[in-house]
């Protein structure tokens, strides 16, 4: 029974989702939208509680066991609590204040201020690391170790040259050739992969709807 109910739900909702693509009738479409939007939102709201519970439990365990770098877990839990309290009781921003005072003179620390001044710069810092990682990855990829890597190096070299004025100075057709590499062989390969991906999605969906694939249930019969 523990498995049969989820499998039945998947079978019904899976077939219903597929049917809704072909049937424009409002009776089907509105039910489909209800499941996709409203039901999913309710489930997400409930699962968020589980998510927050997981973070707290994970870090409390670390503190309890004195795991490696355990004092940082205090920072996570304190940050979580402060942000949650300000977010729930402190209002969204200066124009929408909450019941807690989230302003000292001209300095405000509303949830929007915290997000814009802490989360966004920290995320930007992580994102900017990508530039350095790209350089190291490019160095590794462009070492001509075998035929494929040599072809990769060659096409990357042509593309880079085609994108700068020096390329045109070397040969006036070089930018057009670089464009052709992007538009024809590159696009053809991407489409080939996409065909496989779409068929894979189709096969996986079918296996799940028919109850053949049960990995998401932890496997078993």
């Amino acid at each position: 029974m523990k498995r049969r109910i989820p499998l039945m739900i998947v079978l019904i909702t899976g077939i219903f989702g597929a049917v809704a693509f072909f049937v424009p009738h409002p009776a089907i479409r509105s039910a489909d939208e209800l499941m996709r939007n409203d039901v999913q939102r309710i489930i997400t709201a409930f699962s968020l509680v589980l998510g927050v519970g997981s973070i707290v439990q994970h870090h409390l365990l670390k503190i309890k066991r004195h795991a490696q770098f355990w004092p940082y877990s205090y920072i996570t839990i304190i940050a979580l609590l402060i942000t949650a309290i300000i977010g729930v009781f402190g209002g969204i921003d200066v124009t929408k204040p909450g019941i807690l005072p989230t302003r000292i003179a001209s300095f405000s620390f509303h949830i929007q201020t915290i997000y814009s001044n802490m989360m966004v710069p920290l995320a930007a810092t992580m994102f900017s690391l990508l530039a350095f990682f790209m350089s190291s990855a490019a160095y590794r990829a462009f070492r001509a170790r075998n035929l494929e890597a040599t072809l990769l190096l060659l096409s990357a070299f042509i593309l880079m040259l085609g994108a700068v004025p020096l390329g045109r100075a070397i040969h006036k057709q070089l930018p057009a050739f670089a464009e052709w590499i992007l538009a024809v062989p590159n696009t053809a390969s991407k489409r080939g992969i996409l065909f496989g991906v779409e068929l894979g999605i189709f096969a996986t969906s079918l296996k799940i709807i028919l109850g053949i694939e049960r990995g998401w249930l932890g496997g078993g019969k």
Binding site: S47, I55, Q57, A124, F133, G219
Partner: protein, 360 residues
Amino acid sequence: MILLLIILFTVTPPTAVQVKDLPNDDGGKILITWQRAPEPEIIGYRVLRQEQNSEEWETLAFVGRLANRYIDDEAKNYLPYRYQIIACTDTTAVPSEPSGFVSAVPHWFDTSTLPAFIGTIILSLIFIYFINRAQRDKNLFIRRIAGLDAVEEALGRATEMGRATLYVPGLSSMADVATIASLNILGEVAKKTAKFGTPLIVPTSDPIVYTVAREVVKESYTAAGRPDAFHQDIVFFVTDQQFAFAAAVDGIMTREKPATNFLIGMFWAESLILAETGAATGAIQIAGTDAIAQLPFFITACDYTLIGEELYAASAYISREPLLLGAIKGQDYSKALITFLIIIFTVMALVFNLPVKNWF
């Protein structure tokens, strides 16, 4: 003189006013078409509507002089309406003959999706055939996938080194099929880590994925006969913020130094940040995604990469479950069929100049 002026400034009314229920819609829409009046002084057309059993005409819209169609999207289903188009100049307004009555009806099948419907039926039949065949023929040949052959070796390495295995199921939600495929693989990986006694770390970025992943790992540990080895801390939720998640996983990689990293699922810009950090820690890395833009990063920074469809074949390949292997066979034959059709239609379009694209 007055008669001459009247004749000169007379505008012909719009003709051939036709109305029909808009096809393939969810109802409430009626399409009105008409033939424009030839006079250049016309500035636009007024569209009027009248309900059956009502004397009143209501104005729906005023459209420009070049318009010859209008969709009434405020019609009530099953209620008959008729329409009239008035050609307007600065000084005059000349009405057309009223159209016949028509009602808007919601449709039960969108005929524009017919090719997709036929394709779905054909592909489903191919898959079902091979799944059935797999039940009879247990020795179905499946092509080798290097990245999946390496799973056992990678987990064995982690066991020998006494280090953990890190499994990141991507950053997408359960609505993404790549995430579902990733969790299917996680189930198989968890069975092996449970069997080998290797610590497993599964950070997640979506609360629903966290819940499902936890159940998958728990069931896998039970299936492997090691329910005692499962603890709540194996799978945990980190954050749904993209780069905060990347920072947290990078932190796990550098602190815990897992011997094996699985980066399987849907990834965006954080893919290279994760893969390069993993490579720097010396871990064996197996990545898999259907995000085409991220594939080059994974191929560069990881030891093995499951490209596109291989991601969806992975759980069947690892588990060797005959029914699932049949689906991979179906996937391969469907791909062969599509490739064959593309070649045939391309040749037809090139050689016979047939308007093949209009068929789809």
